[in-house]
Every structure is written in C-alpha cells, then in structure tokens.
Symmetry: C3
Subunit: 265 residues, 3 copies
C-alpha cells in the first residue's frame, strides 16, 4: 500500500492539478501554500459571477465553511452545482459542525449535494451525522476518532462520501473498507488550519485520482501525517512547525515516507 500512496504523491507533483477552494479567511494563505508545496496549483475565488467558469477549469473543488456567511454559502452552492454537473470531485470540510444551528443547517444543505469526500475531526463528524442517526449521546467538543466510526459509516451510507475522521489516529471509511493512519504529532493541533490543510491536500489528490477517492484521501492524510511528524522533530514550537511543515511537504522523499508510514486496517 505504501508504494501505491507514494505513486499518488508523485502524481500530484507531476500533474500539478488546479484546485479551486472556497475556504475560510483564517487559512487561505497556509492552505494555498500547502497546495503549492505538494506541487498543486491553488485557485481561491468566490464571486457568484465566476463560480461556474472557475469550476469548469479545475480538477477538484474544496468547500470549507469555517468563516461562512450567506454570500459565501451561495458561492458554495453555485460551485458544487457545476462540479456535480461536470463530475468534478469535491471535498467538504465541516468546520465547527455542531457549534451553531446556522452551521448545521448549511451543512445539511451541502450534504444533500453528496460530497465526494468529507474530512473532519471526530466531533464534527458526529455532529454532521447526528441528524441521520438515532442519537445515543450528546456531541461535545473532544472526541477520539474511534468514537466517530459509526457516524462516518452512516454518512457514507446516506451520501456515498468517503469519510475521513482525523485525529491522533486518522480513520478513513468507504463502504466496507476502513484504513487507519497513525502518523502526525500532537503539536500540529497548535497550528491553526492543519485540518483545513488536510482537506485542501485531499482536493489535490482526488483531482489526480477522480476514479478512486478512497485512495486519494488515504494518500493525502498519509502525506500530512508523515510531513507533520518530520517537521515537528525539527521544531521548537508551533511557529517553526508551520514553516517546517511546508518545507517537508516540498522535500519529502520516498525513503522517509516508507520508513515512517504507519498504516493499518
């Protein structure tokens, strides 16, 4: 499996896919830099007048609701409509799912459009699935990824999306397949937008693997984890981690990737 994942990393570097992101203000700069560091080409645009045209020229679309408002939600719907019409894969990052009724309502509308891939932390995946499950307990802000597997399966069954629960262990589910990744470093949680970056990179990988969103998601998360781990080793704190992480994405070699990757089912 590690060889297959590495091939995907090389493919992104070689093909330099265009990825259109409608994402939040906080992370635009670092997700654009992460996309560039892996070899992809980021586009960030949101004007209603150009959503259809922009989506027509890209390999994937990333939708992140972090700093949503009505204008941006409409941009998302316009972009997704075109993505679905042209079979452009799209990835949903349900930032802050469960935090407010407005966020939940917007997310429910986006789910109905059947994202190719959904990536969130355990609390977000639980909140996202809660309308579609018989609730057994409340959603609070800190869950381990293993607690959200049933929620992920529910989302996969209802909407057909590959679902990635990211955390100390990343769990990616699709139909009867489950992959677990155990790379990464706790300090990554002290850099803003690391989750959003994972989602953006997933967009780059599914752009070169539209036929296999499961593999694309696993490859993106594996790259995140290994590059983050390597970067953390060289970093004194979250400031240098952010810098070293971009360098690691750019310089990562197959030998380092193979040596560190912790993947299981």
């Amino acid at each position: 499996m590690q060889e297959q994942l590495w091939k995907s990393i090389v493919l992104v570097r070689d093909k330099s896919p265009l990825v259109q992101s409608i994402t939040n203000y906080v992370v635009m700069n670092n997700t654009a830099n992460a996309l560039l560091a892996v070899g992809a080409s980021p586009i960030m645009a949101h004007a209603h007048e150009e959503m259809k045209d922009m989506v027509s020229i890209v390999g994937a679309l990333v939708i992140n609701i972090g700093t949503l408002d009505d204008y941006w939600v409409k941009s998302m719907h316009l972009a997704i409509a075109q993505a679905n019409a042209l079979h452009v894969p799209w990835v949903l990052d349900p930032v802050g799912a469960g935090a407010t009724p407005y966020r939940n309502e917007v997310l429910e509308g986006l789910l109905q459009l059947r994202p190719t891939i959904i990536r969130g932390n355990a609390s977000e995946i639980l909140a996202l699935a809660s309308k579609h499950t018989t609730p057994t307990k409340g959603v609070d802000s800190t869950h381990r990824s293993t607690e959200a597997v049933d929620a992920a399966l529910t989302l996969n069954q209802h909407f057909g999306s590959v679902v990635c629960i990211s955390g100390a262990t990343d769990i990616i589910v699709h139909k009867d397949k489950t992959v677990k990744l155990s790379n990464g470093h706790p300090m990554m949680a002290r850099v803003t937008g690391m989750g959003c970056t994972a989602t953006a990179l997933t967009g780059a990988f599914v752009a070169v693997h539209p036929e296999d969103p499961m593999n694309a998601t696993v490859a993106a998360m594996a790259l995140m984890g290994v590059a983050g781990e390597l970067a953390a080793q060289r970093s004194k704190g979250p400031g240098s981690l952010q810098v070293n992480f971009l360098d690691s994405l750019y310089t990562l070699r197959e030998s380092d990737f193979a040596e560190r990757l912790k993947v299981g089912a």
Copy 2:
C-alpha cells in the same frame, strides 16, 4: 506581581478558553496561531445568523475593526449585545482610529456598548478619546504612549473600560491604578498585526479572569513583551521574528518570564 502574572499564563494554558474574534482579514491567521500557542482555542465567525449562538459558548469576545465594513459592523453589534447580556467580557481594538470619519463613527457606536478592555497605540487612544475631551492639539500618527495617558483615563471614566496604550512602554490604566510594562523589541513593529495579537491574547486572559480585567490585560501584555523580546534575540528580521514569537509563546518558562519582566507603576 510577577508571580500573579505567571499564574494567569498557566491558567490560560490549563483552561484553554474559547475566544471568539471578529477581527480583520490581515491578521486572522497569526492571531489564531498566537491564541493556539498560548493554549487558548480561537473561533472566528461573523455570520449574523450565528453571532448570538457563538458568543454563548465562548469565554471572551474580541472586536477588531481593521478591515471593517457594514456587514461586519453589524456582526460586531450582534456579538456584543449577546456578550453584554451574558456578561461575557469583550475587548476592543480600535485599529486606525482617527484615520477616517467612518472609522470614528463606528468606534463611537462601539464605545457606547462599554468594552471591558480597550487596547490601542497612543494615536488610536488619543483619537478615540478626542470626542470626549476638550481637544488641546491635533492627532497625528506618531505619539508615545505617555502622551495618551489622559485620554486613557477619560475613556476609563466614561466607559468603565480598562485601557491599554501599547508602545515602547505599555501603559494600562483602570480607575486609580496604572501599570507600566517595558518589555518588547522595536522590530515587533515591523511584523503586521502584533498589536492585534496583543488584543487577541488579552481576550484569552480575560476569559480566565472575567472578574479582574486589569490583571488580565497586564498579564497578556507582559507575555507579549517578554515573548517578543526573547524571539527578537533569535531573529534576523521580521520574518523569523513572527515564527520565533509563536514558538516563544508556546515554550515560555517561568524562569525566563521572571528574569525579563519589567513592570512598574
């Protein structure tokens, strides 16, 4: 006093308070990172539909008018109304006060809502107070913090806010108390958003000290100054300063803090 301030720093690290910011586009990424580096949890949202709900779950609210427009000003009012209703402390950063009549008008409206804390540079504090004082001279762009003490006292008397004038010497005033801090480094002025970061951190500190906004402000400014000073020592320029500053916030130890802190009345 140094021991009390250090206790506040530890309290933020332990409690990891949620801080909602309505801030400017330029600094969202680095203020979110600074909040994470000190142990707090940043939220940045502005949709009118969710302001009330967001403010209901946080420990403090930060209002920064840097890149304001009418939509965002309304977001600020919705958020502050809920903060005041729930006694959630809120901090005002009057970026660019005095630069345009629009900014002054918006700020006057925000002042009437009685911010818990106001943090600005000397020129901003002078501009902010000018409507509430008998003007003695014009407001230009470069003032030393000592020149704005009377303006800070006026604001404190009218609106009850703790007022922090930041500069080479930071001066924090509240009723008959004044604290002066002399840490920091001139190169910090060459990194965008260092003032905004100070305001954001003040939000984290008042979230864990809602009963004592004066102490919260002093602790936040002391941390800014000492961490900035330590970072500047290791930095070649403003690029590395920004990185090292986040690392310093994250790694700062009591011994370094105690050794460097320059506090007086």
Copy 3:
C-alpha cells in the same frame, strides 16, 4: 543604474510611505509584512464609506483582483477615482486575467481608469491586452515573459501604464524603454502571493517616486529578485523561503544588492 535603484530602496526605508491596498484575502498578511519589511506602512481597508478618505492620506494605491466580488470591485472604483483626482499613483495586479469572463470584464473597467503601473505574469498580460490587439494565438496558462512584450507595449500605448511582465526574466516596458531583470529563484513560484508581493512593493516605490513610475517598478522588482535569491540560498523549501524572504527585505545591504543585481535592456 544599480546605484539609482539602491537609492530608491533607501528612500522607501527613510520615507516609510503609506500604501493603501485593496487586495485579495490570500495574500493580505504576507504583502502587509513585505511592505513593513521594506520600511513602508501598509493600510488595508475596503469599506465604501472610507475609500475616499483613506486614499487621501496615502502615497500610493494597490489594486489586486485575486478574490474579487462586486462589493470589492466597487471599493476599487471608489478608491481609484480619488487616486486619479489627487494624482496618487496606483498599481494594478490583474490576478487570474483570462480565467473567467467576469474577471476580464472587471479588468477592462479598471484599465479604462489608466493604472500608473500594471504588474502581472506573461499569461495575465497577454489576456489583459487581448481585447486591444489582433489576436494571433490563444492564451494558455504558461507563457514566458518574452512572449508578452508586444502585449505589454500595446497596454502601454493604450493606457499609458508602465507594464511589468514578471517571470524568470522580469521585463518592464514604458514607451521606448525596456528593462530586463534576471534575478529571483524558481522556488519563489511555490510560495503563494510572491507576484502580489511584487505589486505591493511596487506601490511603496512609486509612492516615493510618483514622478518616475518606470524607475519605481524596476527598483521594486530588482529588490524582489535579489532578496528572493538570497532567501532561497538559505532555505530548505517554500516554508522557510517565505520567512527568509521577509528577513532579506529587511536586512538587505548595498553590497549584496550590487553584487547580485542582473539588469539589462
């Protein structure tokens, strides 16, 4: 020529010009930091209510359409009207020209207001000029700067703007003068917003040289190229490049500039 360019760099450091930018969300933080690192003072504001007032106090205006929408386009028009009325020089960055009809239409409207300077990559300059030339071939996404010289001359003739085509070789044209710069490093293309930063710095230089926009553009691009080259030498990847680039802008000395500058006609 190298001495004259260095004098401009010193002038920016000494005069610390105010530069108002209406730019895209992705690059606001790093272009503000680049302006601060060269000694300029950035302002980023977009509210319609304050455009006229803001432009009245600055030395130059930067217009960058990266994440445009209708509100921001109106901000641009309000700001440019005041800039033109007060003879404040303004610089246009036509990000993504040619990507969508909306972008092209907005750019055509901005061109009619006669930018003092236009800076874009070869594909953008070709797209921008295409309405004003007899097309000989289609516009694709990767062109070398030499291919866009005729397009740049067309824009210069029609709108009077100094035109800078940036790339491995930067070409700056104005009337019968052409200057070529061959500094920089390929890794700069893997950091988001390096082009936008070049445009922002051009704003700082034309603010201190309103009488000579050609020289201002050459000086800004020379500084970008030399500082980028120096930074790349010390960098492992695009993360550290971004940091080292800001440090280089801040610390650059005349001897390094003179030694490295590659300028020709």
